[in-house]
């Protein structure tokens, strides 16, 4: 059985078929990229995987479990983390607090214990902090640790969002346009990080991205979609050479 499989997934908003029967499989430990023109339905697929939307049809299977039957807040606990295209950080909190929220899925204490701040809560806080510090070291966020998100530049926010997702210690990481709004240099760093995330942490990455440089740099396999439908699948070079893909991007 596949590690992660999407089967004939579809969602309709009224008469609009945002995603219309897309299927793909992702193997453990690979970087799988979804490309497509604006409005192709890439982010919508992500939103269905993280259960913000209910698919109209189809199935999402992760490690043998049907994801569409899981409530949205349980997805993180199963090991699926995500970032957002336009950055959804907790703005009036510090970087560290944001990362600690990422540890929420690993919370084991009860509300009462927390109100009394029992020793078990303190131990848990220390463990969370250690895990968050590892991610801070990995992504070079040390100078920003105690800064408010509102005071950070865009590129750093992008990294913080990636860091927060890593704090979940996921098995699958969904990256929604990790390079959008980044400079050339930041984009290259992002590429190296994605490589490291896969290689050092063994995390499977599913990515939506427009920047073909980054796509070529990190992807094992690429899926191209347009108007919610399958166009092509294969290596980055194969997909980019595919006539249907070129037609979708450049016109007939």
């Amino acid at each position: 059985m596949a590690f992660f499989a999407v089967d004939n997934l579809a969602i309709h908003f009224g008469g609009i078929k945002a995603v219309d029967g897309v299927s793909f499989q992702v193997n453990e430990g690979e970087v799988f990229t979804i490309i497509g023109p604006n409005g192709a339905g890439k982010s919508t697929i992500f939103n269905m995987i993280s259960r913000i939307y209910d698919p109209s049809e189809g199935a999402i299977v992760f490690e043998g479990r049907e994801l569409t039957e899981v409530p949205a807040h349980k997805v993180a606990g199963m090991g699926i983390a995500r970032t957002f295209q336009n950055i959804e950080l907790f703005e009036r909190a510090t970087v560290l607090q944001n990362l600690l929220v990422g540890r929420h899925a690993h919370r084991k204490t009860s509300l009462l214990a927390e109100l009394l701040f029992l020793p078990s809560v303190r131990q848990q806080e220390l463990r969370h902090r250690e895990a968050a510090e590892k991610v801070i070291d990995f992504l070079d966020l040390q100078p920003y640790r105690n800064q408010m998100i509102t005071n950070l530049p865009y590129g750093v926010r992008k990294n913080v969002e990636l860091a927060r997702a890593l704090c979940i210690e996921p098995k699958i990481l969904l990256l929604d346009e990790p390079a959008s709004g980044l400079t050339v240099e930041e984009t290259r760093d992002m590429g190296f990080w994605i490589d490291d995330i896969r290689r050092d942490f063994g995390i499977t990455v599913i990515m939506v991205e427009h920047n073909m440089g980054l796509v070529n740099q990190v992807s094992d396999r690429v899926l191209a979609i347009n108007n919610g439908r399958f166009l092509a699948e294969g290596t980055a070079a194969e997909v980019q050479a595919h006539p249907d893909v070129q037609k979708a991007y450049l016109g007939a």
Partner: protein, 364 residues
């Protein structure tokens, strides 16, 4: 400027983060313990200030309750006087039945908390102004229940309240009551501080700033909204139980809409999203009438005796704060503190809010 050398993560978790905290807060507690004796020493006729301080502490407890909901979780309640009323009337009713204060105090908080939880169910999906309107409606319902359920609440006649008793000893003296309020306030401050340094507190802040990403971090939104409502109502209920003893006679006018607005004003003026804010706000709300009565003699008669002088002034001050200091008194306090700690390097731009980047629009 103090530079704290950090060698252990515990230093960030501790409430007293460095020796400065220990020094100042110990000093504050000593001052609070000494205050009623100093004020009552007979040399001055400042004994009435003890009563004022008790009231401020009760307001601070209520403010902490509202802070959990509005300041931290971002749900604006305009009906929190209802929870104050539930706490006050529950406490009053139970003590009338001969229940001791210690029991009735906790039952008052618990009942208020449970009603808060129940209110969370219908208001779960509401945000912003719709939620505020729902809480106003709730407060109106509670008000009419108080009027019509006169066998329990005394209805329009009101309800006299006895002095609180601790293990058979009745606290008639204002100084004794002052210490009761002080103990409750300290306990509630610790409770809220603990909440905010653990997972649940961070989950509430996460809810406030972005529900979508909170959810994808594994935060169960309905559950935490209910937690915020329940805790907030419980704390406000505790404040209500004390408030009953403070005003010694309950009538429905003590818990009307203006009272709810006053509570909200307190947390906004004090500074949203901090424990300090609730305390500063309570001091402000408690001292403004005192200040007014002191300066009234020096104002021209036309202004001094004008009806609605106090609410009017409240309104003006609220507007000024929202315009010039949205972070409230606590925000101003932080700026003043930073100004002196890095003197002469302070720059105005330090606290300037930066541009907020576009949030994901597709999800809303």
């Amino acid at each position: 400027m103090r530079v704290v050398f950090k060698t252990h993560y515990n230093q960030d978790i501790k409430l007293a983060k460095h020796s400065g905290y220990v020094f100042w807060y110990t000093g504050l507690i000593i001052a609070m313990i000494a205050a009623p004796f100093a004020l009552n020493s007979g040399a001055t006729d400042a004994g009435w200030l003890v009563d004022e301080l008790s009231l401020i502490m009760i307001y601070a407890v209520a403010g902490l309750g509202l802070m959990v909901l509005t300041g931290y979780t971002g749900m604006v309640s305009l009906g929190h006087a209802a929870f104050l009323a539930i706490g006050a009337y529950t406490n009053g009713f139970l003590m009338e039945q001969g229940v001791s204060f210690l029991v009735s105090f906790f039952v008052a908080g618990a009942l208020s908390g449970i009603i808060g939880l129940l209110l969370a169910i219908p208001t779960m999906r509401m945000t912003g102004i719709y939620l505020s309107i729902a809480t106003i409606a709730f407060a109106v319902i509670v008000e009419s229940i108080i009027i019509h359920w006169s066998s329990v609440t005394g209805g329009n006649r009101g309800m006299p309240i006895n002095a609180p008793d601790l293990f058979g000893y009745e606290l008639w003296d204002p100084v004794e009551f002052y210490f009761l309020c002080l103990v409750v306030l300290i306990l509630i401050v610790l409770l809220v501080a603990n909440l905010m340094r653990s997972s649940t507190g961070r989950a509430l802040v996460a809810l406030r700033d972005s529900e979508v990403s909170a959810q994808s971090m594994g935060i169960n939104i309905p559950y935490y909204k209910a937690v915020a409502f329940g805790l907030s109502a419980m704390i406000t209920g505790f404040a209500g139980a004390l408030y009953a003893h403070k005003i010694t006679f309950l009538s429905v006018e003590s818990f009307n809409f203006i009272e709810s607005v006053r509570l909200l004003l307190m947390v906004v003026v004090g500074g949203l999203g901090s424990i300090h804010g609730a305390i500063f706000g309570a001091i402000f709300i408690g001292l403004l009438p005192v200040f007014l009565s002191l300066v009234r003699d020096y104002l021209p008669a036309g202004i001094a005796n004008a009806p609605g002088l106090e609410p009017g002034l409240f309104g003006i001050i609220l507007m000024l704060f929202i315009l010039f200091e949205p972070m409230g008194i606590y925000g101003r306090w932080l700026k003043i503190k930073l100004y002196f700690s890095i003197f002469p390097l302070y720059r105005k731009a330090t606290f300037k809010r930066q541009k907020t980047y576009l949030k994901t629009e597709r999800l809303h």
